[in-house]
Amino acid sequence: MKRGNPVWVWTEQRNNRLMEVGVELLGKGLELSERLNVKLETILIGNQTRKLADELMAYGADTVYMIEDPRLQTYQSDVYANVLADLIREHSPEILLIGATNIGMDLAPRVAAKVETGLTAHCVDLCIDEDNGIPYLAQVVPGWGGNLMVKIVCPEKRPQMATVRPGVLEKPARNEARKGEIIKVTPDIKDGDFKVKTIEMVEEKAVGIPIEEADTVVAGGWGLFSAGGFKPVEELAEVLGAAVGGTRPAVDKEWISDDQMIGQSGKTINPKLFISVGASGAMHFTTGFLRSKVIMAIDQNPDAPIFKVSDIGLVGDLREILPYLIEELKKVV
């Protein structure tokens, strides 16, 4: 029998499809709940979501709190936050994990403020540690500069809330034989509660290969500025059939768009091959591709931290190396 306050995951749906990051969080949630010997429970807000609830149980949820209302089909900022906060007050979860989609990032801080608890953004790892025999959630985020990681804790307030970016955690295996319980919740929602009303949600198709789906990604950084610009990165990507990404300075230089930014405040990707060009390797960039299968880095500074997280480090002047590399790859791919 599982006792104690549960581990919760808010699993977001859009157009009645589960967002991947929620499923990824269930994998981590299962690990945490087994360690604490408590239930793994999910909160599912939407309309006609029964099929999604079955999916969630197949991915490990012991309980699915299903909140169904035609008005909640699409994300509604203040009402979703009220519903979630009320459920937290009623059931006192120990931990609440939320996927850091744009909507998750809109919801999580509001809920944390409502129940007056701590919230750690964009964790790259979560685990249970103990302090004098009392288990707590260790939330790991990248620190500034160098290869430092910071462990954040929330010692007194509950739930311990954390957001995690899509792609950071691995998706768990699906097991249709798993059983769980669906608990329907019917909150009292008045039309006047919708102070912000989502009137339209439009999903657009991505242009080109989205970096999070590409097998190969070539990313450029600040070092290209003094080496004559971003063009070689695009040429390299073309030869490899790769998607193009980059660091925040590359976005600031308008070499790439926001949705091509890799790292803590951008995307987390796990391609088969990741090539970094002219990026020194600050932690807030490198956390975005650490789980790639093979990492190659190209930079002129042999001491750059990027080489510590790479399998292959190619050192030299970018202006000399890149044309050779493009030509050499043309021969072999």
């Binding site: 990681m149 804790v153 007194e156 439009v202 999903e203 932690m283 399998d311 072999v332």
Partner: protein
Amino acid sequence: MSLDIVVCIKQVPDPEYFSRITIDPVKQTIRRDGIPTIINPLDKHALEEGLKIKEKFSGKVTAVTMGPPSAREVLEEALALGIDDAVLLCDRAFAGADTLATAYPLASGIKKLGNFDLILCGNETVDGATGQVGPQLAELLGIPHVTFVNEIEWTNERDLIVKSTLERGYMKLQVTLPVLLSVVKEINEPRLPTVLGIMEATEKEIKFFNAKDIDVREGTIGLAGSPTRVADVFEHKSKRKGEIIEGLPEDAVKRAVKRLRELKAI
């Protein structure tokens, strides 16, 4: 009718110097001495939007920041852009705050100023990058919020439709003032300060509020009022091979490509 607009801004280390920031392994605090500071880039878009809305409907734009005395620099810059008032929430008791303990004094400071119709923030800062303070501030002020705002369409002086960026696509949301909006850079092109603006700014006064001035609830500010703590700082150990290939470019490239093939990466 005119609008009272508050823009929340933050002084942050210049991202171009991030690699120079280190963490004190003993005190576990961030060492950012000697790192140049700037207005958080998205906050410039929030200031611009505030000024544009004032020009449209008339009203007053007040910039608020929380930070050490040196944070007055970002307020001076905001004044030079043409805002009307500037407030610095400055008290040692505010130090070490996480996002919730930042939102509390901001909320109290804004309430202290009196009436407000619209609060604007940058969607996130380049240092913390949490994007949490905006929504938390809205909650504490008891007003709705919208994040990732890339467009505002005014139906009239109280009602607006805002567009919010999604991963791929967008949402359109309807809301009535008062509201807090966290903006992204696509919303506008920030203006540059004019010489006249800079001169006028020197005559404007910056208001300083400490913890007592704003009647902030005890136990909600600073490190003591922060639900989260830094428990440890440690080095990240990579399991990568870290093989370095140097030498004549043509030869080094050949060896690197050979390794890529051996690892079956291409």
